[in-house]
């Protein structure tokens, strides 16, 4: 039962240096509905909502909002008109506290006009509690993990009494529990019947769970808008990708061999406690746990990115413990970091350089352009990266950036791969391609450790799963036949040990 019309985007278009990334897209939103936006990486979803939030100026079309017609918006107009946006990429001020970030541009003030930081911290704490975000309001944002930052973005958007809330892949770095909390929150907000939500996600189950309408974008054009219940996931996938693809990936199993990689007693004060496990030949070893359980910290230790208090790594009995990423890479270890923008991308450098950096490091003092170009072309094609190799990485859509990072490490010819949230933000079609690649790697004798907060992914891709809780690897289970609910119980530590 849709309420008032909150918003009408009419034939909105956007070009970047002559290329149309949005072509006459129309889109509307009513009070009390969740309108989902789906499409492949680079389809133009983020661009569309950035036009609405004022971050991007359209080249044509109208924005009908609050009884008026706008040709374009500025962020401050948009905020004033009651539009709150949670961006896909984290855009917070790392040097300010959580409370300062939440109230940025809209500070609470004392009667004398000074910023009332005490009150900001108090009210922010209340807000965070209400949203079940367990982060202190006075903590500096720079100290938070990506997932925590993502949740702060949420709080920042929600602290204003907004009528239109835009969420661009809000759950991509959240754990299962946080994602479920967010779903509940969305449900609660919508139930009031006043607010409308635009929701972008690559998780179709989420979309079908909370969406009232679903709009599909492809190559910057609108394919269709469906009401909930009039469409099934396979049709939406077909409209997005242009072919059949399954929601669940059924990987080929590889023959599991002897234990090859031995992770032995890794510790780091305050983060990781005495973690040991083995990875066998042909195996994909999954690591699961709640956000903040120390998975990323563990990966950083294995890769030598952070100093460990202790721990050795053996491959076929040979000690390959690394004190630095440089050593790690030399020893045949690769790590795809969780935070693509901070830890991975050279944002102002071309896609090509981003992709081949490891190859260049290996290949000798002179750059071999031909070989590089060939490698880049191969990856662009294989993963369907919507970008030219000479484009700066910052101009890519979030999912395409992730693909670039994946390509970099897949090109690295390592023996041990550590993937930390590998498919974050990647569309369904390309996800399958990445899974296929990982399976191939496993099949060719590489050892793979995969950290993932995406339960279906973790369950379908892993042979065994190490469960982490408070920095400890509490158990290692066989992934076969485990349900999501059972796994979550183990993460939380409710199930019998």
């Amino acid at each position: 039962m849709p309420g008032d019309k909150l918003l009408d985007l009419v034939e909105v278009s956007k070009e970047y240096s002559g290329t149309k990334v949005l072509d006459a897209v129309s889109f509307s939103l009513h009070a009390g509905e969740v309108h989902c936006l789906v499409g492949e990486n680079g389809a133009g979803k983020s661009t569309l909502i950035k036009i609405l939030s004022g971050a991007v100026q359209p080249n044509g079309g109208q924005i009908r909002l609050a009884g008026r017609v706008y040709s374009h918006l500025e962020p401050k107009d948009s905020l004033r008109l009651g539009i709150a946006t949670i961006y896909q990429d984290i855009d917070l001020i790392e040097t300010l506290s959580v409370a300062d970030n939440i109230y940025l541009g809209d500070e609470l003030r004392t009667p004398l006009g000074f910023v009332d930081r005490q009150r900001q911290i108090r009210t922010a704490t209340q807000l965070l509690e209400r949203l079940r975000i367990r982060v202190g309001a006075a903590v500096l944002v720079g100290e938070l993990s990506p997932a925590q930052k993502q949740m702060i973005q949420l709080a920042k958007a929600l602290h204003r009494e907004s009528r239109i809330i835009i969420m661009d892949e809000p759950t991509s770095s959240l754990g299962h529990e946080e994602a479920r909390a967010l779903m509940e929150l969305v449900g609660g907000v919508i139930a009031g019947g006043v607010v409308g939500i635009i929701y972008i996600s690559h998780f179709l189950d989420e979309v079908f769970q909370i969406g009232d309408r679903i709009t599909v974008l492809k190559d910057g054009r609108m394919v269709a808008t469906h009401a909930k219940g009039e469409v099934d996931p396979s049709q939406v996938i077909r409209e997005m990708v242009g072919r059949e693809a399954s929601l669940f990936y059924n990987r080929e199993k590889v023959r599991i061999g002897e234990p090859a990689l031995q992770v032995s007693h890794f510790s780091r004060a305050g983060a990781v406690k005495d973690v040991s496990f083995e990875v066998r030949e042909g195996e994909i070893f999954g690591i699961g746990g709640l956000v903040g359980s120390g998975r990323t910290e563990l990966a950083n230790l294995l890769f030598g990115a952070d100093p460990a208090d202790g721990g050795r790594l053996y491959l076929h009995g040979q000690d390959i413990t690394a004190g630095s990423p440089h050593r790690a890479i030399a020893n045949g270890i690769s790590m795809i970091a969780e935070n693509r923008q901070e830890d991975g991308l050279f944002l102002i450098r071309p896609v090509k350089e981003n992709m081949v950096v490891l190859h260049t490091e290996k290949a000798g003092p002179l750059v071999g352009r031909k070989r590089e170009n060939a490698l880049v072309r191969g990856m662009v094609k294989r993963f369907g990266i919507v970008a030219s190799p000479s484009q700066e990485a910052r101009e890519l859509s979030g999912g395409n950036q992730q693909k670039v990072i994946m390509s970099r490490w897949l090109l690295s010819e390592a023996r041990v791969f550590i993937f930390d949230e590998p498919t974050k933000g990647i569309d369904i079609g390309a996800k399958q391609e990445i899974y296929r690649f990982m399976t191939e790697l496993a099949g060719s004798g590489k050892l793979i450790i995969m950290i993932s907060s995406d339960m279906p992914e973790l369950l379908s891709m892993s042979d065994r799963i190490g469960v982490m809780r408070n920095g400890e690897m509490v158990k290692v289970i066989d992934a076969q036949g485990v349900s999501e609910a059972e796994l979550l119980e183990m993460f939380l530590g409710i199930a019998a040990a």
């Binding site: 004033r80 855009d91 917070l92 001020i93 790392e94 940025l104 910023v115 100290e143 983060a271 903040g292």
Partner: protein, 327 residues
């Protein structure tokens, strides 16, 4: 969650919290240098000498306080020395025509604000880094001062001495009090006002600031105006101290100020920092200069000693903080 608060706890002792870590080490270095200076020459600790130091750092202090805002916000103004020269010459010339001192001071301050705004405006309007714009406007300001004075020193003799002659409670040089007020002003702006939040936001992440509805361009202009205002006050103090102005008056102050700000813990890319750090940076520079002057080091070696002491200070204050940094 508890990992975090644990980390936070370890980060700071009571003193550390009071000063922030960098500032804590700066205080320590200043004390060590002061004690060394006192051992070399006991006169260092004579009240009169300590007051001299305060007097000598007051002009640099005002300039550096303004630079703190700019640098945190991700901007640079390296024409400050030249604009001080221009403003000092204008003021001196006006005073020589017999203009009222207050009015002349006001005009001098306005000259600095206008020059600073010009830098800000050009940088914003052209989308060019303020560093390169202000590098170019050095020539404009210095040239204007030259054209106005034809390079001739503008001496005002007994006029305009009120600021430099006055000591509060018969002890504290008024100049230093003004300088401290400048720091307090900057401190309050940075910590207690919306404008201050914007300084950090724009300096740390322009795009995020913009997306939060902050008018990046307008606010940047305000930062330049503030820096100009403090440079203007610095000029008034300087002119009062010197009693004469040349186009080169103030030359080099901008680099010293930037140095003090960076020693005080602001990264050159901006985004974080505080007024106290800058104050300590300025004080450190003042103590080093003074102790060298008192020390009778061979004049040819004084500059070496100065540079080496600054490096040493930076070493102590950064080394502890970045111990174990891998990249």
């Amino acid at each position: 969650m508890d990992t975090q608060s644990g980390r936070a706890k370890k980060a700071g002792s009571a003193l550390g919290r009071l000063f922030g870590r960098q500032s804590f080490f700066l205080v320590a270095i200043i004390l060590i240098l002061a004690i060394a200076a006192g051992i070399i020459n006991p006169k260092f600790f004579v009240l009169r000498n300590l007051l001299n130091i305060l007097e000598q750092i007051s002009v640099l202090g005002l300039v550096a306080a303004g630079a703190t805002i700019l640098i945190i916000s991700g901007n640079f103004d390296i024409s400050v020395g030249a604009m001080i020269g221009l403003s000092a010459c204008v003021m001196a010339m006006l005073l020589k025509t017999g203009m009222n001192e207050l009015l002349a001071a006001l005009i001098g301050i306005l000259v600095c604000v206008a020059c600073s705004l010009l830098n800000g405006f050009l940088s914003i309007r052209l989308g060019a880094p303020s560093f390169i714009i202000s590098l170019a406007t050095i020539g404009v300001f210095h040239g204007a001062a030259l054209a106005a004075t034809e390079g001739v020193i503008q001496t005002i003799y007994e006029q305009f001495g009120a600021i430099s002659n006055t000591n509060l409670f018969n002890v504290f040089p008024l100049m230093f009090v003004i300088s401290i007020l400048g720091f307090v002003f900057v401190h309050v702006i940075l910590n207690n006002t919306r404008l201050g939040r914007r300084v950090f936001a724009i300096g740390a992440n322009r795009k995020a600031a913009f997306l939060s509805g902050i008018g990046v361009k307008q606010n940047t202009l305000v930062f330049f105006a503030l820096s100009g205002l403090l440079a203007g006050v610095a000029t008034v103090v300087l002119l009062s101290r010197l009693g004469a102005a040349l186009p080169t008056t103030g030359a080099g102050l901008e680099l010293k100020a930037i140095g003090a700000v960076v020693i005080g813990g602001v990264p050159i890319t901006g985004g974080t920092g505080n007024a106290l750090g800058t104050f300590l940076g300025v004080l450190l520079i003042g103590v080093i200069s003074n102790m060298l002057n008192l020390s009778r080091v061979n004049p040819y070696y004084q500059e070496i000693a100065y540079g080496a002491l600054v490096v040493l200070s930076v070493a102590v204050s950064y080394l502890r903080i970045n111990a174990g940094r891998k990249y």
